[in-house]
């Protein structure tokens, strides 16, 4: 049923007075149905300039070959694979929110899953461009697919983690896309039924003729549940396989069995940080404070704290195992992260990921929007450095000292990286312009049970434990979208 009443001690998921079903539609579709504001145009201009830089740098790479990058014989993977793993990791939060939190019946996911999933798709696109680019000759990507060819056929080697990765990333991308688009259908139909003229025609094509009849909804829910069920192991498998790109090698610093869980935790960590970075701005610019509330922000901060701490434990474990293994190369590799020429990268990695996130233990910090936003960016910087340390710092010291080398990025390396961020934001900004950034149907589902007004009604109705009511009012003081004066009077 849509309207069972929820315990008063749970914080509201929708705030604001007089929120009706129509109000939700109006609020969510405001950016889609109207011309965007100044903030959007500024963001879009900057982002698309970045995307142009990306096009230029990638074209330059394809024209001149990989010599345009700063790679050398010792460090054969550098910013490319760092960028790839970074983007794939960022992509993980969307599926975690849409699939795992659905299975756990976490209703707060309803208002953030749409944009987080969109972010997943764009991040995986950015990651995939790195894979194509680092091949130097992108058309050679064809040979990573198991299709007959003129060399025999010379098949792909299914024993190789790199081939597993091709399968994992492509499956992950396409399944996420299907999951996201299926969820979009009811909301596209809402836009269609409100629009006129050419807009109505476009959204009519996009909404596949959705009507919202009983049977459609029943099948829709079955599809979403099963997709969530299969996406959950899928998302865990993807970063597991990415970590095996490294872990199945014999390289000190890579050759560790802890990599799969460590990478998965790190991926969710960086993904939630990116969701936080985007949503804290989006909710303000689009005026969605009533739907993405302080509860959502704090819940995401708690996940960042949890996964950041798991990553911290994994770091400690790595150091301990390096010591305990008594392998001198292994020990050197880990010591080198602090005393080698890349000590600053190591400090960025451990400092940003472990030390800074521990601040989240304090509720004052978890519920402070500017600090949360800064910390979310710090986490993403730290996670970029984590991949840099794992990849470049492990590679730059070889078994043979004569091949020791440093990695110096060229302007092309830097441009591809900055450009990929521009590409990501261009796609995200286009998304919030033309598609509903909050899953309206799913938010409407929790309006009667988990909204502030429903709780107000409960309080007004009386008969509740006064201690619980006080606890509830106390928890509202951190909300920026709640007028706390209303409760003082009552």
């Amino acid at each position: 049923m849509a309207s069972h009443s929820e315990s008063i001690i749970r914080e509201p998921l929708i705030t604001g007075e007089n929120i009706t079903y129509a109000q939700i539609t109006n609020d969510v579709l405001r950016p889609v149905e109207n011309m965007p504001g100044k903030a959007w145009w500024i963001g879009f201009t900057v982002a698309s300039l970045g995307a142009c830089l990306w096009v230029f740098a990638i074209s330059y790479t394809f024209w001149n070959g990989l010599g345009a990058w700063g790679l050398n014989k010792t460090v054969g993977w550098a910013w490319d694979i760092t960028g790839f793993v970074w983007w794939v990791g960022i992509g993980h939060a969307g599926t975690l929110i849409s699939a795992i939190l659905l299975l756990f019946r976490q209703n707060w996911r309803n208002s953030i899953n749409r944009s987080a999933e969109a972010m997943t798709i764009f991040a995986v696109i950015c990651a995939a461009t790195y894979i194509l680019a680092h091949m130097g000759r992108p058309w050679m990507a064809l040979f990573s697919l198991p299709i007959p060819n003129q060399y025999g056929s010379l098949w792909v080697n299914f024993n190789s983690p790199l081939i597993w990765d091709v399968f994992a990333i492509s499956t992950y991308f396409s399944v996420s896309l299907v999951f996201w688009y299926t969820g979009l259908l009811p909301d596209l139909a809402t836009i269609r039924d409100r629009a006129t003229g050419i807009r109505q025609k476009i959204y009519s094509v996009l909404s596949f003729g959705w009507t919202g009849s009983v049977k459609t909804w029943q099948r829709f829910e079955t599809v979403c549940l099963i997709l969530a069920g299969i996406s959950t192991p899928l998302v865990l498998s993807v970063h597991t396989i990415v970590s095996m790109d490294f872990a199945t090698s014999l390289e000190p610093g890579w050759h560790t069995t802890i990599f799969p869980p460590y990478f998965v935790a790190g991926a969710i960590f960086s993904g939630f940080a990116m969701v936080q970075t985007l949503l804290l701005v989006t909710r303000k610019v689009l005026g969605l404070e009533n739907y993405i509330t302080m509860f959502h922000i704090e819940a995401m901060n708690k996940i960042i704290l949890l996964t950041g701490s798991i990553v911290g434990v994994a770091y400690l474990t790595e150091f301990f195992i390096a010591y305990y293994s008594a392998g001198e190369y292994e020990q050197y590799t880990f010591l080198n992260r602090f005393i080698g020429p890349y000590w600053w990268a190591g400090c960025m990695m451990y400092g940003c990921n472990v030390l800074m996130t521990q601040l989240m233990w304090f509720k004052k910090i978890r519920t402070n929007i500017p600090i949360s936003w800064v910390l979310s960016i710090v986490v993403n910087i730290g996670m970029w450095f984590e991949r840099f340390v794992i990849i470049v710092v492990s590679l730059h010291r070889d078994f043979v000292p004569s091949s020791w080398a440093m990695f110096y990025p060229t302007w092309v390396d830097v441009s591809v990286f900055i450009g990929s961020i521009g590409l990501f934001f261009t796609m995200f900004l286009l998304f919030i312009r033309v598609l509903p950034s909050i899953a309206m149907a799913e938010v409407k589902l929790i309006l009667k049970s988990s909204s502030e007004q429903a709780k107000k009604k409960l309080i007004a109705h009386g008969g509740l434990d006064s201690e619980q009511v006080e606890f509830y009012k106390e928890s509202l003081t951190s909300f920026d979208s709640v007028n706390i004066k209303d409760y003082k009077k009552a």
């Binding site: 049923m1 849509a2 309207s3 009706t20 079903y21 129509a22 539609t25 198991p146 056929s153 098949w155 792909v156 080697n157 299914f158 024993n159 983690p161 081939i163 597993w164 399968f167 994992a168 499956t171 396409s174 399944v175 299907v178 999951f179 299926t182 009811p186 139909a189 809402t190 269609r192 039924d193 409100r194 009519s204 094509v205 996009l206 596949f208 003729g209 959705w210 009507t211 919202g212 009849s213 009983v214 049977k215 909804w217 029943q218 099948r219 829709f220 829910e221 079955t222 599809v223 099963i226 997709l227 299969i230 996406s231 192991p233 899928l234 498998s237 149907a441 409407k444 589902l445 009667k448």
Partner: protein, 178 residues
Amino acid sequence: MSTTKYILGLFADPDELMHGIDTLQKNSVPIYDVYTPMPIHGIEKKLGIKDSRLGYAAFMFGCLGGTTIFSMAYFMLVQDWPMNIGGKPAFAVPDFVPITFEWTVLFTAFGMVLTFFYATHLFPGRTPRVMELRATDDRFVIAIDAKGNIPHEDITNLLKESGAVEVKHNDRKYVSYE
């Protein structure tokens, strides 16, 4: 003779909609369909709609995907072109696990969603067959086939009594296209 083809009861609240369905059923008025802006649990039981069988389809597609890629890997690496990698067996089953898993998921997702689209007649460009435009926004709509269900006034009163905010007598089935 009335030109009304469909009678629509528009509700503003899902609980009142449920009440409306109960009232109509108590009075033996057959319901054509119900349109809602969000999934309302319990309607399908009231209307006697059977459980979705998409789960079975999903399972079959998953089996198909896993079998396909495992057979492909077997043919390619064991049958057609076995490689000597340090003398290890060509039929390295543990190495085939990741790809088998991935294609199981891939086929399940695509097979199930395409089955859903096929069964529900959803495809890009399909003309929307919408009876009430606000049914995707904030109205919960019960549609009743007017033909044979007379007198219409009684049905209107039943809907109004059970909480409908508006009752429409539509001369056309679908309002979404000319």
